[in-house]
């Protein structure tokens, strides 16, 4: 039980580190958001559930914490991404396509 929980915490911590690494390494806001959302949500989920496995009496509260993280983290990141697009942060030069001109509410924001 103890070893399984420690392995879960280890996986979670590894993904948290990779998410932060992606924040530093990737080229523009949108790609950074990708790394920042997925890796940190997953890593936090695994770390918290791992703590719940190591101490079985804590499991239910740990589950509640992970549930809140799973619900709130994508929403706040989505709000940040939308704000970035609306305030006209440019895409990276290597981007392939930008279809946001077809979208009604972005017709008059600056191009690329």
């Amino acid at each position: 039980m103890h070893i399984a929980g420690m392995i879960a915490i280890g996986i979670g911590v590894l993904f948290l580190f990779l998410g932060s690494f992606g924040i530093v390494r990737l080229p523009d806001v949108y790609n950074r958001l990708q790394a920042g959302t997925k890796c940190t949500t997953f890593g936090c989920l695994f770390a918290v559930l791992g703590v719940g496995i190591v101490e079985p009496a804590w499991f239910w509260k740990a589950l509640l914490v992970s549930l809140f993280v799973l619900l709130t983290n994508p929403i706040s990141n989505h709000a940040l991404g939308r704000a970035a697009k609306k305030s006209g942060v440019p895409l990276w030069d290597g981007s392939v396509v930008d279809k946001s001109r077809d979208f009604p509410s972005y017709a008059n924001t600056e191009k690329l």
Partner: protein, 83 residues
């Protein structure tokens, strides 16, 4: 013993986020770094509760997970209508 390695890795993650917070060309980059550091901190608090062996410390992580989202949404709302 192995927990101390986890704590050091999380500390390194916070340092990386601070680098992006200093460097970031736009305000949105900095907000993304702050949001990431919040999630990392929630995990850190839960692991520290395991280290200190106190059940009551989990409550702090719960409050963190619920309330931090308000700050990010406030910043995002401002950026949408601002410059």
């Amino acid at each position: 013993m192995i927990v101390s390695i986890f704590l050091l890795v999380i500390g390194a993650a916070i340092v990386l986020c601070l680098i992006r917070l200093i460097k970031g060309p736009t305000a949105t980059d900095r907000a993304v770094a702050l949001d990431t550091v919040t999630t990392v901190t929630t995990a850190l608090l839960v692991i520290l509760a395991l280290v200190f062996k106190r059940y009551i410390y989990l409550d702090v992580a719960l409050v963190y997970a619920v309330l931090m989202f308000i700050g990010s949404v406030a910043i995002a709302r401002f950026l949408e209508k601002g410059i």
